[in-house]
């Protein structure tokens, strides 16, 4: 009987210690981790080979700038499937379709204060990881019967915004805005 009271007491102390640890952890999270994550939410990365910044939230908007794969942008405003973004520290702004961007960290960039504060410790950069050109080369070596000539050629078949606009006008088709 006496033994079990003692046991209960030590159990209580143990639980209290757990609570203290949890409390301390919350303080730690509040001070260091949450502010970093909150800032991270507004920063997105370009997840395609080349993003086109436009003057208005539409594919018919004029292209004002191009951003390379992995560039980090700050979201200023949302409008349907479009986001107005700025490149931190550069003064560059424009509209991009949401499918251009990801919350994943594609590449780690240095040079701007905003970016540095958002990258905590050893965050993962995804550019070039996984299935990439090196893997494709290995695959080609093992499958020499496959010919990529026309795959490469296909990728050069590309129409500009102006050509698409003209095509739509000539065929009396209305303008695409992009979905979501």
């Amino acid at each position: 009987m006496r033994k079990s009271i003692l046991y209960n007491l030590s159990e209580k102390i143990r639980i209290m210690s757990h609570l203290k640890v949890i409390l301390f952890s919350f303080i730690f999270l509040g001070m260091f981790v949450l502010p970093g994550v909150a800032g991270y939410q507004k920063l997105l990365s370009v997840q395609i080979r080349e993003a086109q910044l436009r003057s208005s939230p539409s594919f018919l908007g004029k292209i004002t700038n191009r951003l390379a794969y992995g560039r980090i942008v700050e979201v200023l405003k949302d409008q349907g499937a479009w986001k107005r973004v700025a490149v931190p520290g550069s003064g560059i702004q424009g509209w991009v379709h949401v499918s251009t961007l990801t919350t994943k960290k594609i590449a780690l960039q240095s040079g701007t204060a905003d970016v540095k504060s958002s990258v905590t410790g050893a965050e993962l950069a995804l550019a070039g990881k996984g299935f990439n050109a090196a893997v494709e080369d290995e695959f080609k070596k093992k499958n020499s019967n496959l010919d990529f000539t026309w795959v490469d050629r296909m990728e050069t078949l590309k129409f500009t915004t102006e050509e698409i606009q003209e095509f739509l006008r000539d065929g009396h088709v209305i303008t695409p805005e992009g979905g979501v």
Partner: protein
């Protein structure tokens, strides 16, 4: 009683737990655990090998096709396209291919996935079969036989929008076996050098080969499930209506296909639900749109571009 040393051991565990509880609402569990583990590791609370173990363990259980980046999807798509081109040859007609590309790239802009890593590109295959393939990332193939089922530019747009639907809704990636995805991601170097070691490259290439055969096996030989085909039809109707093409053009194309398709063929007859069942299924989506009267200019350029198809 718990001494200071025990605190030090337990703290990172509590932190991980709390991080999971706090962030589950806004991020995926896996990225939360990964972030928590890297933070804990970088703060010296757990050593880096412990952090690595946590990350790798998490990766192994929760990976799915949705986690391929557009860049990885692009490389998968290129090799899938190469396999398609090992079975079919391209139709060498610049005018027809340009026409199909400008229609395709226009309707792609109205999809929910207008931006892929390297964009949408289309190629006509020199085959009498009624067939089409959409490789991940937006490399899309359509046979001459299928284009002959298209009585108008709007119908061509419908065929291409259906294929864009497969790409947008990631139907190709869904054909990859789960174990393959786990294999691909676990053999990934998560930190440090961007270039792989020899063994990693060999493992990744093996996973890559399996991935390509999973996709091409489904796409070319067996066909997607009926529900994924209906899904692509539904997406096509949405896309057509957004651009200003006639959503009923999909119905017209399917009716013409119904007449031309050899029921014993190894093409759409084998890999797709019957045209009549597709027509019946999409009726509820197309009914709300009034038919579009196709302007003369559009008819003329259609006839010119695909005159010899």
């Amino acid at each position: 009683m718990i001494n200071a040393a025990q605190y030090a051991i337990r703290l990172p565990l509590y932190l991980l737990l709390l991080a999971i509880i706090v962030f589950t609402g806004c991020q995926t569990m896996e990225s939360v655990i990964t972030t928590a583990a890297t933070v804990a590791g970088s703060q010296g609370m757990i050593d880096n090998s412990q952090a690595d173990t946590i990350i790798k363990h998490t990766s192994a259980v929760s990976r799915s096709f949705e986690e391929f980046t557009p860049e990885q999807e692009y490389y998968i798509g290129r090799s899938v396209a190469a396999v398609v081109l090992s079975k079919y040859s391209p139709y060498m007609n610049k005018k027809a291919n340009d026409y199909v590309n400008i229609i395709g790239q226009t309707v792609a802009l109205a999809s929910d996935l207008p931006e892929t890593f390297a964009g949408y590109h289309f190629l006509i295959l020199n085959s009498d079969e009624v067939n089409a393939f959409a490789a991940p990332g937006g490399l899309i193939f359509v046979t001459r036989g299928l284009l002959r089922c298209c009585p108008s530019e709007d119908a061509v747009a419908a065929v291409l929008a259906h294929e864009i639907g497969h790409t947008q809704n990631k139907h190709g990636l869904q054909a990859i076996k789960r174990a393959r995805i786990t294999q691909a991601f676990t053999s990934l170097a998560l930190e440090g050098a961007k270039t792989f070691g020899r063994q990693e490259l060999a493992q990744l290439t093996e996973a890559f080969e399996g991935t390509i055969s999973d996709i091409t096996g489904t796409m070319i030989n067996n066909g997607y499930s009926r529900s994924l085909e209906y899904d692509a039809d539904r997406t096509a109707v949405t896309i057509l209506s957004r651009v200003g093409y006639d959503p009923h053009a999909l119905t017209e194309m399917l009716q013409m296909m119904g007449k031309r398709l050899n029921p014993k063929g190894l093409d759409f007859a084998k890999t797709h639900p019957s045209p009549s069942s597709r027509v019946a299924k999409i009726k509820m989506y197309t009914d709300k749109y009034s038919p579009v009267l196709i302007p003369e200019a559009r008819k003329v350029r259609f006839a010119k571009a695909l005159a010899n198809i």
